[in-house]
């Protein structure tokens, strides 16, 4: 198998909050291979954005990566000096943030922000960049791009702001794109268009995409592999077909079971959802134990070891390592 483009090993992230610190990420391992779309899914608050921000080294002051390594291009990003990191950010790894409007500069016209990225990362001259920025905006489905380029972020609809951000990211031509819910707030037709575009760029440039999303429909249509996160830990990782056909962690099963389909109207109640319980970050065992319907005694005491169900399918669950199918 090829060398991974991004390799995250034993990553731990602690966040200080009211004089108590907790491991918001614990023992996170996963790879992103060259030229693939890797999905990262999981509960709200499970640490997906923090994982991405750790890779980008854009963590809030209260957070600290206290263990592990992130290998990218032969370097451990966690030990890179900030000056080295600045060269990686944007030109080699670019990120679309969860909140597009906050990521855009409110005082700068949308088109200028795209043009600036083109000048910075593709070395275009100002007039070239201006022309190319209009093309890019049109590419991401913004109609009337010439006029929209002159708008300030607050004059754009939520979905337009999102697409301006995607255009900026594409302008950077990075080896790795990290997209944190890039299509929330976009209607499904434009969503389909954006993914076509990302795939095209990927094919042209050989870039990889780490896609954070809650939309399992999108995962199923765009990703090759997926990692499932819960309370700061990876619970399961597999090829996308495998994961949908053979979900092997009780959390993954529940997550897939809670999908609502438009083509099926059903009377809705919370039995479809995962019962709520607070997360015990200090637990020595599996963090899902208090919500797991099949919990064993050992789950409270010990963290499950990796259990390989195939070349590319790994699950962290005592039920599996106990040898149950």
């Amino acid at each position: 198998m090829a060398e991974p483009l991004l390799r995250i090993r034993s990553l731990r992230l602690d966040i200080e909050d009211h004089d108590r610190s907790r491991a918001v990420l614990l023992d996170v391992n996963f790879d992103v291979m060259p030229n693939e779309v890797m999905g990262l899914v999981g509960e709200s608050g499970s640490g997906k954005t923090m994982t991405a921000l750790t890779v980008m080294r854009l963590l809030p002051p209260a957070a600290r990566a206290s263990a592990g390594q992130i290998d990218f291009g032969g370097q451990n990003l966690l030990s890179l000096p900030e000056s080295g990191m600045r060269q990686v950010r944007g030109s080699k790894i670019a990120m679309i943030f969860q909140n597009p409007r906050a990521a855009l500069n409110p005082l700068m016209r949308a088109g200028d922000q795209v043009a600036r990225a083109l000048m910075l990362h593709q070395g275009l001259t100002r007039p070239e960049a201006r022309r190319a920025s209009i093309d890019l905006l049109r590419h991401v489905g913004i109609s009337d791009a010439e006029a929209r380029a002159r708008a300030y972020p607050h004059q754009l609809s939520g979905g337009m702001a999102q697409r301006v951000l995607i255009a900026i990211m594409l302008a950077c031509r990075p080896a790795l794109l990290i997209a944190d819910e890039p299509t929330t707030g976009l209607d499904v037709t434009i969503q389909a268009q954006i993914f076509e575009l990302i795939k095209k760029v990927q094919a042209e440039t050989g870039a990889s995409l780490l896609l954070i999303t809650h939309d399992l429909g999108v995962v199923s249509e765009v990703c090759q592999r997926v990692a499932v996160m819960y309370a700061g830990q990876i619970m399961e990782q597999a090829g996308v077909r495998d994961l949908f056909q053979r979900p092997s962690h009780p959390y993954t099963e529940r997550l897939l079971g809670s999908i609502l389909r438009v083509d099926q109207a059903a009377e809705l109640d919370t039995t479809r959802a995962i019962a709520f319980a607070s997360i015990d970050y200090d637990s020595a065992g599996c963090r899902f134990a208090n919500r797991c319907p099949d919990v064993l005694d050992v789950c409270w005491a010990e963290r499950p070891a990796a259990c390989w169900l195939g070349d590319d399918h790994v699950v962290f669950c005592h039920l599996r390592s106990e040898g149950q199918p």
Binding site: G141, D144, R163, G185, D187, Q191, H214, L260
Partner: protein
């Protein structure tokens, strides 16, 4: 029959931008009854958020009337609007707009209660935060210390604090996983039953709309092009735009290959008002008549469609 809670009548909102005009909303009319959940869906930029902001008087309307319990909000002075805010609330698309970055979650939730004299103790706040599956420890946090979905849930909790009559929710669950989304829908449904709350639910998440809303309105380029009972619109979409929209939904089954109804080209600019159907340049079924103003066809039971294809619908013959 009961009186509508909200009546939107011929709403227009135009923005000036330099020497041109953006026609964000062009003649939208609809009613919302007490205890009813109405979905508003449509392409990005079609004017959903603008419609919501006009209803709440966060924007001045260009033309049209907004009647809330019979009172025209567009004619009220701002001070009077503020006093009625208890009765209509909004969850903003961008959670940062609902949440003051310098306020703790506790203060964000307490303030609307205090403002309307409903605050008695912090137990109310604990209850509110638990309702959206967060925990009392989150009350001490500032917005930047929360994940995207956690912020969204605080926004929802804040909007329902004062038990308003009408809540407009603009993409309130886009950053939530499916399981939490179900919890939010079930919560909204319960409040709807218990307090007869009404909702306008704006979302691109059509499966949530399908499960929450009694009625749905499909918007394209500033106009409502199809509306009706949710089941009727989803199972029997009649406008070409609605058909294309529904066929584009990704289905979570990697083995499935689907055919999609694709629209040609891109959304036209909202700068020029088009005569006739606004989809004419992208539609595969377009005829000459589509370039003339399109009447609204009634398919019965409130299912209305502004598309010539509606004439071939069996409901059209009976309703006519």
């Amino acid at each position: 029959m009961t009186e509508p809670l909200l009546q939107v009548q011929d709403l227009h909102k135009h923005y000036r931008e330099g020497r041109t005009t953006i026609h964000a909303v062009n003649g939208v009319s609809f009613d919302v009854y007490p205890g009813e959940a109405v979905g508003l869906v449509g392409e990005s930029g079609c004017g959903k958020t603008t419609t919501a902001r006009c209803i709440l008087r966060l924007e001045e309307v260009t033309r049209g009337r907004i009647l809330f319990q019979g009172t025209d909000l567009t004619a009220l002075p701002r001070s009077r609007i503020r006093a009625r805010r208890k009765d209509f609330q909004m969850v903003f698309q961008d959670p940062n707009e609902s949440l003051n970055p310098r306020f703790s979650v506790r203060r964000t939730l307490r303030e609307p209660l205090q403002l309307h004299g409903l605050y008695s103790s912090d137990a109310q706040l604990d209850e509110a935060i638990l309702r959206v599956n967060l925990e009392p420890e989150h009350l001490g946090r500032l917005p930047h210390q929360l994940s995207g979905g956690q912020k969204q849930r605080v926004g929802v909790a804040r909007a329902i604090m004062t038990t308003p009559r009408l809540v407009i929710l603009d993409e309130p669950t886009s950053s939530l996983d499916m399981s939490l989304r179900i919890h939010v829908i079930v919560l909204l449904k319960r409040l709807q039953r218990e307090f007869n709350l009404s909702y306008i639910y704006i979302s691109h998440d059509l499966s949530t709309i399908r499960h929450l809303c009694d009625r749905v309105m499909v918007m394209y380029l500033g106009r409502i092009v199809e509306e009706g009972r949710t089941a009727a619109v989803f199972d029997d979409p009649t406008h070409v735009y609605t058909k294309a929209l529904l066929s584009a939904i990704p289905i979570p089954d990697p083995t499935l290959k689907r055919s999609r109804i694709l629209l040609k080209g891109e959304t036209p600019t909202a700068r020029v008002l088009m005569a006739g159907c606004s989809l004419q340049d992208r539609c595969g079924f377009v005829l000459d008549e589509c370039r003339q103003p399109v009447p609204e066809y009634d398919l019965g039971d409130g299912h209305r469609v502004a598309c010539r294809l509606a004439r071939e619908h069996p409901g059209f013959q009976t309703a006519a």
